[in-house]
Symmetry: C2
Subunit: 439 residues, 2 copies
């Protein structure tokens, strides 16, 4: 090992950064051997240097001065593991401007400011590596950016948010309601104190944006495609889906349809036999389709300290060997030459799961079916169970019952038009439920 | 694209090589763009230049003189896609000796002569890339060699032979016997005219040897670990396994147990819920366990023209960019510093599925259970169905019935000792069936 050590500045010393330090500090760590070089932690920038830490870092490396850390000419690589999109953006740009390679796990930063960051890195002839930003320990960035180079990728279907998937698995497995499971997930540390970005689909959508840019050469903004979280999902609908042979997952989809890019992140019904439907707990899964390789599935821990640290370290070894510097300029991150336009929500074609709360009166099903039919929506199946005994004091003694409908393939535009008409029916109570069904 | 073209010599123009040419020739192929260079096919060495071909290669590139093709100083990269271990070995060594990088899909060559080939390449400062040699289109060599560098890999469990898996899926799905499905698979082109290497486990074992060397730094020979194919498997035992909640797969396993390496390729019972148990048809799947990343699963087409060509082209782009040249010297291919010794078959610990054909007489089950017990084997479950009506002229009117036993965890040594004693019982008919059960 005659090569000089790689000198690191680490921004943040939270869960993932501590995991990285743990791997680098490990007894007989295989990492230096595989990199052909050793690693030296020069700076660790934190908010509070006096806080106790779960890992040991070199004496005097702790600092609150992130700018000095990233600007130090004796640093080779900056690991941005602080999160957020303000200081993280400034720090990454400062690191790039002073000639450092950057490794980041920050999907929000890259989804929002990726173009700026990537362009700056390209200009400065440094690289930005971000394996840890998507699907944690699953090496999906490597698979798409390096291993599928002989393919045109035509479809991505994925579970990219472990917190949401954990909550859905618990709801279904233990017949619990959303709020109940969320509270437990927070208590256990699976969900953030503010879980909004996880459960409203933003986190999964940011990861999908990164995958789509890399796989399809198309940069899409959050506002350009439909996104819905699991935070309004009811257990009842998950159970109706099961009754129909489907499982509900927060599915992220990007698919080439002619010259259009169909893209969405939503609770989606998947046939129970599919691997993606059987991915439970905090796991992530990505199913890719390439024109040469066909379907490729990768599954593993989508978050957590050591899996995410594993991804960061793989990037670090790539930089140490010099591979990342060769890979980065060849990635599809520079221009939109895909020729693709993002499909408008109304044009998206698929099957739908609908649940209306209707009065249990004669002709209600006929009225609903008629409105759907007039919007060219044909029905694949209907579930309406017998009404429970009703308290005559409520709703004038008329029971309200759920009417669950599975449609054949139609457009989201037709569904929306039908929904507008259905809202006019006095026998249908708002709100109703609509979920996409995957092919 | 100012860089000069990469000049290729392709050895063989069979299924995979034609797929590679198809990708390189494709209209608006993304490959050159991703490589930053174009590719030029200089030579295609074949046995018969007059045979009609399914793809177009440059005029005058076809030759029978493989030695001249690989030795041409104007060639940069040799693609060894001819198969076999005699001429392929000579050609690869000649290519390396004259300074060419080599890309190969030949698992037999590398499993048998890998040390010689890798050492020659290291000495000549060229690289040998072999993504296509293991699990077809699944980028498992990249995942192990590049993406898991922050991990100690502790376990590999995989389905690595698509032909065997196709046959098993057909047997179970359609209740057909082995010979019957094999004949169909050959007619359909899924199985070779001589399918011996596929169905006797050799092909899967060769791939496991390559994965183990890369992942664990340990070179193992075929003769060093137990290997059994699917060619003696009976449908009846697959159905008994189903009755017990298990599915039979040809499973390749390499697992670190203390300082020992447990390694085997055998028909194995897996709990039906596991992803690996649900991998059907010609698909391959690899489950890795790393100390940081935890479990990682990759599944996809393990063979076939375009998936395998996709893997070859990913290596070709790696060479064009210069990545493969950096990766190769860092791989765990040089010395055995793993400290691991291969566990002897007798020491392997696990549960077993046993099926004996016994006389349907009083005390037979007690005798069998007694012998197992005396060998410290305890029983987890037993299936013995009611005997069918029997033809009194056979076997003196005593029905022969299958006795299926699932043991608790024990050693293979204990099982073998018990088998020797059981063979002495007049009420137990040879042969019996023994299959491993995965945890």
């Amino acid at each position: 090992m005659s090569e000089p050590a790689i000198r690191l500045a680490i921004l943040g010393l939270g869960t993932v950064a501590s995991g990285v330090v743990r791997i680098l500090n490990g007894p007989n760590s295989p990492v230096s051997c595989r990199a052909g070089r050793s690693f030296e932690i020069r700076h660790v920038a934190v908010r509070d240097t006096s806080r106790p830490r779960e890992v040991e870092v070199p004496v005097n490396s702790l600092t609150t001065d992130w700018l000095a850390a990233v600007s130090d000419p004796e640093v080779d690589v900056v690991l941005e593991l602080m999160g957020g999109t303000t200081i993280a953006r400034e720090a990454v740009l400062a690191a790039i401007a002073t000639g450092k390679h950057v490794i980041t796990a920050n999907k929000a930063l890259l989804a929002e400011h990726g173009n700026e960051v990537f362009a700056a890195a390209r200009k400065a002839e440094v690289c930005v590596a971000y394996e840890a930003a998507v699907a944690g320990g699953i090496p999906i960035i490597a698979a798409v950016g390096r291993s599928m180079t002989g393919n045109r990728i035509v479809s991505i279907e994925a579970i990219l948010n472990g917190t949401s998937n954990f909550i859905l698995s618990e709801m279904l497995g233990k017949h619990r309601q959303y709020e109940d499971v969320l509270a437990e997930a927070q208590a256990l540390g699976y969900a953030e104190a503010d879980p909004a970005m996880d459960v409203d689909g933003t986190d999964a959508a940011q990861k999908l944006i990164l995958l789509t840019q890399l796989a399809l050469g198309k940069k899409v903004e959050l506002k350009d495609f439909p996104r819905q979280g699991i935070d309004t999902l009811e257990l009842a609908d998950m159970l109706y889906a099961e009754e129909l042979g489907y499982r509900v997952k927060l599915l992220a989809v990007a698919r080439v349809v002619g010259q259009q890019l169909e893209m969405h992140v939503e609770p989606t019904l998947l046939r129970r036999e599919r691997a993606i439907a059987q991915t439970d707990g905090a796991l992530n899964i990505v199913e890719l389709e390439g024109d040469a390789v066909g379907h490729l599935v990768m599954a593993g821990a989508g978050a957590g300290q050591m899996p995410t640290a594993s991804a960061v370290v793989s990037d670090l070894v790539d930089v140490a060997i010099g591979r990342a510097q060769q890979t980065f300029p060849q990635l599809n991150l520079w221009q939109d030459d895909s020729g693709l336009t993002v499909m408008s929500a109304d044009q998206i074609q698929r099957r739908y799961f609908l649940r209306f709360n209707v009065e249990d009166r004669p002709r209600v099903i006929a009225e609903v079916a008629d409105i759907l039919g007039r919007n060219q929506i044909s029905l694949a199946s209907i579930i309406q169970h017998e009404a429970p005994e009703v308290d005559a004091s409520e709703n004038g003694g008329v029971p309200i019952v759920p009417l669950v409908i599975m449609t054949h393939r139609t457009t989201e535009g037709s569904i929306r038009a039908a929904e507008a008409s259905l809202a006019q029916l006095s026998t249908v109570r708002a709100p109703h439920v609509r979920m996409a069904v995957a092919d």
